[in-house]
């Protein structure tokens, strides 16, 4: 028993040294995502008179996205100038993701895919500064032409292609992948 006591005595100062109270875990840091995109707005302006402006906005993309209020109501056989705006509202001040993407144009690409394919034609009107065989399209600015009346969707994918951008969607990974309902009438 004596030896037991001896050992316990030996253990005590060491335990105090090591087990000093540290309450770091009680200060909880907020969740931070370097790549969060909370809001996507697609704005289409018709190249006709009178000018028709259509916007579709999706909020809370990083949590519970609701696409039901983001339907694009378009006229048939009309050409629109399109711009996409992306925001990260989790940062203070709000981060303008589309501006950041523009700065990093050489490693990003927006891919627009209508379904059915006959519903719309989408052409990117801006390019990056990649050296030959570039420059490649970027896709923040677009020209969208509708065909005959119909309903469908427009899928917008932002591809992150660091060092591998080649003008096709294949390389890299997706930073954004959203689908807007489209009604042409």
């Amino acid at each position: 028993m004596n030896t037991m006591k001896k050992s316990l005595l030996l253990l005590l100062p060491a335990a105090l040294l090591l087990g000093r109270c540290n309450k770091d875990e009680q200060n909880v840091a907020p969740t931070g995502d370097n790549e969060a995109i909370t809001t996507a707005t697609l704005t289409l302006t018709s190249q006709t008179t009178p000018v028709q402006t259509v916007t579709a906005t999706v909020e809370n993309l990083n949590a519970s996205a609701d696409f039901s209020k983001a339907t694009l109501l378009l006229r048939p056989n009309t050409t629109y100038t399109g711009t996409i705006t992306l925001l990260d509202k989790t940062k203070t001040p709000t981060l303008d993701v589309s501006a950041a993407v523009k700065k990093e144009a050489n490693e990003h690409l927006f891919v627009y895919t209508p379904a059915p394919a006959s519903l719309l034609t989408v052409i990117s009107t801006d390019v990056d500064t990649n050296p030959a065989p570039g420059p490649f399209p970027l896709g923040l600015a677009t020209q969208i032409r509708t065909a005959a009346a119909g309903t469908g969707t427009l899928r917008v994918v932002l591809r992150h292609q660091p060092d591998v951008k080649n003008g096709t969607p294949t390389p890299g990974s997706s930073d954004l992948d959203i689908t807007f309902p489209v009604v042409v009438q």
Partner: protein, 797 residues
């Protein structure tokens, strides 16, 4: 009261079994007993063999180093003593008419060339105090794995596998269980390094180990809750006892990845007034570049590791004390081809036969990568009473910091995506009572003790697991009875665990917390019976438990690398395991080996069950998983056999079979290691010119296709096809050819050890079911590695 009756039952069973053990001595035949010890440390050499040349019989030393040979007729005999890593000894004896002949202890001298045997030996060591299925890796077998990570080197043991995340991360799997279900003891301290993550490998310098022991099966009693799958013990070489300075230098180079490793150790003992004081410093530097598959390089699979450790040991009369500090620091590159943002990316990657980016060779290590640092400080003191009991007190603190970086995003924030800091303090007090020998020669030995732990975790950036604080405490007692041919063991343990997790309400910005606690009682019973001097049967039944960890309970978020949304379940109950093992071991002159059967039943087994509704986020739809509990069973067989065709040529076959099942849903489980068979042919040339211990070996590893997987279902969601169960079918079976050549040679008065290893010699393109990156790329191709070790110094033999 419950505890008392349980203990009572164990005592009753043990004493009942003990009564069965007495058996009559054959008249007119002598029994020969002896003990085999290490020459310097006088430690018992468990598993050492003694062989009687004339009668062609032998025996194996038990946990206390004792052996027993029976039915010996009077006459003259020659005994051969052998043990792995020791010089063999031959001793002539004369047996007279006495019925009992007790030989003086036999002292074996360590063989520092350590290049003699296939050293995947199965043995039981008193230090580990457990009558449980164990395998270990030491000597040449360990030396042949130098330069590999701990997880990779353990794959040489039957029943072990590893979960990989590309070629740089390898996480050990014992009998199909991994992560928090196995405990790793680094130099006696329970390693705590966010081991819940499948892409988090144990952060231990492989060069620190001179012996790696694996306990296969539940071993909660001695090592605490969680060990329902097994325990990995990483043990360094014993501290020097003689004055003088010594050490060694290890150099490893490998063709694939251009890997280079330098590891050095220098140690010494003091003389005169400081006798008993010894020290050691050790360090490892490792660099590796892009790994090459047979057809292409894997972008960014570089690896950097810098480790050091220091040890100070003092032996004085009945006291000894130790201070140990180590730091492990690694920067692990992750294959960029496996970076997927969405399910669509994943399917595109799966459908590509090869990654898009196929760079040339480089040592660059860029994003994405993991940066990990693990510090350990350990203080230990032991007191040995005059009567032979030992009390050991250990306190330790570990700090594990982990930073995980993704590709630089559009925000250009250079922060890591994930930061976790885990500080763990442990305190252990163990009392080993003196061995009590009674007149009949039977021995009682045992230990009792306390383990305490507290941890604090701090996270930043993405949410994967919350901040938390936990406390745990356990008391245990293990008692062993060894008599004649029987060894019996019983153990009991009580545990308590408390866990408080801290969260932040993102809308109100108010912190809040949740607390859970658990307690549990577990027991184990084991028996070993020596059927013949060369044949033994061991049976073991044990229970073990694991409280749900923070990831199981509270994870809530998109697991980017797994392309899955994972939801914790705060109402999970502890897992309870019932583990049975049966091992038949044979050690004949030509044939030796072990066949082990196991059955591990786990109630409330926690796993990620696919939800029926996928979740839609900024990167599209993701399959969602929730932590669920089922009854799971893991049944299998480990068989390891060696046959000496001639004195020089031997054949070894290591086979692992595993059959795991989700009994609740009558389904299979994901991520279960497929069956495999590892076969080797080894030729020992012995002395050839200036070279000693020369051997060549060829090996073939066959890993079957895992056909026992849950069915893959698919559904349409948001225009995307969503698979559940798995994303791709298991890859086909594969066969890998390997070879090894080793020898020792004198260099300037020292003995240089050389091992040349070749893996995947046929340069086969294959994928492994347990590699998380199997969707994206092949496994590494041909690799040749050269390992050199040069011991030096005045106290080295």
């Amino acid at each position: 009261m419950q505890k008392k009756t349980c203990l009572g039952r164990i005592v009753l069973i043990v004493s009942l079994l003990a009564n069965l053990t007495g058996y009559a001595q054959m008249p007119c035949r002598a029994t020969l007993t002896g003990q085999i010890l290490d020459q310097t440390t006088r430690e018992p050499l468990t598993g050492a063999t003694v062989f009687v040349r004339e009668t062609k019989t032998g025996a194996v030393a038990d946990t206390a180093g004792y052996f027993r040979l029976e039915r010996i007729c009077p006459g003259s005999y020659t005994l051969d003593y052998q043990f792995v890593g020791y010089k063999s000894l031959t001793q002539p004896i004369v047996v007279g008419p006495d019925s009992l002949l007790t030989l003086p202890p036999t002292l074996l001298m360590p063989d520092n060339q350590l290049l003699q045997e296939v050293i995947v030996t199965e043995h039981r060591s008193e230090a580990q105090q457990l009558l449980q299925v164990q395998s270990s890796l030491s000597g040449v077998a360990l030396a042949a794995t130098r330069g590999q990570s701990l997880g990779e080197s353990l794959k040489n043991i039957t029943g072990l596998y590893s979960i990989q995340t590309g070629p740089t991360i390898s996480k050990p799997v014992i009998h199909g269980l991994y992560s928090n279900r196995i405990i790793t003891l680094n130099n006696g301290i329970r390693q705590e390094d966010q081991q819940w993550g499948t892409e988090h490998a144990p952060e231990i310098d492989q060069f620190l180990a001179s012996l790696i022991t694996v306990i296969k099966g539940a071993a909660s009693i001695r090592y605490g809750s969680d060990a329902i799958g097994g325990v990995i013990l990483v043990e360094p070489k014993a501290m020097p006892t003689k004055p003088g300075i010594g050490g060694d230098v290890n150099v490893v180079g490998a063709t694939n990845g251009g890997m280079g490793v330098v590891s050095g150790m220098i140690e010494g003992g003091f003389s005169r007034k400081l006798t008993g004081l010894s020290w050691r410093v050790q360090g490892t530097l490792k660099r590796s570049g892009y790994v090459k598959t047979p057809n292409y390089y894997l972008d960014n699979t570089s690896y950097h590791e810098n480790n050091f450790s220091g040890d100070l040991h003092y032996d004085h009369k009945q006291w000894n004390a130790e201070v140990f500090y180590s730091q492990f620091d690694a920067r692990i590159g992750l294959f960029t081809g496996a970076q997927v943002g969405s399910l669509a990316d994943l399917y595109a990657a799966i459908s590509r036969p090869e990654p898009i980016l196929k760079p040339g060779f480089s040592y660059n290590l860029d994003r994405p990568y993991q940066a990990i640092r693990h510090n350990l400080l350990k203080l230990r003191a032991a007191y040995r009473t005059g009567r032979g009991s030992t009390i050991t007190a250990t306190v330790a603190q570990q700090q594990n910091s982990r930073r995980e970086y993704d590709l630089l995003s559009f925000s250009r924030l250079t922060n890591p995506e994930l930061y976790l800091k885990l500080v763990t303090s442990t305190a252990d007090l163990v009392w080993e009572h003196r061995s009590v020998k009674n007149a009949a020669g039977s021995i009682w030995s045992g230990s009792a003790g306390f383990n305490g732990i507290t941890q604090g975790n701090v996270r930043q950036f993405l949410f994967l697991i919350p901040n938390f604080r936990n406390y745990g405490g356990g008391v245990f007692a293990i008692e062993r009875y060894a008599s004649d041919r029987w060894t019996l063991e019983g153990g009991l343990r009580l545990d308590y665990r408390w866990l408080r997790a801290y969260f932040l309400d993102e809308t109100t910005n108010q912190p809040y917390n949740t607390t859970r606690h658990w307690q549990n009682t577990n027991g184990s019973l084991g028996a070993a019976y020596q059927l013949r001097p060369d044949l033994s049967l061991t049976a073991n039944i044990s229970t073990a438990w694991r409280a749900p960890n923070v990831a199981d309970l509270y994870s809530n978020g998109l697991h980017q690398s797994a392309v899955a949304y994972e939801r914790g379940n705060p109402n999970l109950q502890p897992e309870q395991a019932y583990n049975g093992n049966l091992v038949l071991a044979y050690a004949g002159k030509r044939l030796s080996g072990e066949i082990g059967l196991y059955n591990n039943r786990i109630d409330n087994y926690i796993y990620l069950k696919p939800d029926s509704v996928p979740i839609v986020r900024q990167r599209g739809a993701f399959p969602a998983y929730s932590y669920t509990q089922v009854l799971a069973t893991f049944r299998g067989m480990d068989a390891s056999l060696t046959y000496k065709l001639t004195n020089r040529l031997s054949m070894t076959s290591n086979n692992s079979l595993l059959y795991a099942r989700n009994q609740t849903d009558d389904d299979f489980l994901v991520f279960v290691p497929p069956n495999r068979s590892d076969n080797r042919l080894r030729y020992e040339l012995g002395q050839t010119g200036k070279l000693s211990n020369l051997y060549v070996q060829v090996s073939g590893l066959y890993v079957s296709r895992q056909n026992r997987v849950p069915p893959v279902t698919q559904q349409q969601e948001n225009g995307q096809l969503i698979f559940q169960g798995d994303f791709a079918p298991p890859p086909p079976a594969y066969f890998l050819l390997g070879a090894e050549l080793g020898f020792t040679a004198p260099v300037a008065g020292h003995t240089l050890s050389v091992i040349l290893t070749g893996t995947n010699l046929a340069n086969v393109a294959y994928r492994d079911y347990l590699n998380r990156f199997r969707y994206y790329a092949d496994e590494p191709g041909r690799n040749l590695s050269l390992k050199l070790r040069l011991p030096f110094g005045t106290n080295q033999q």
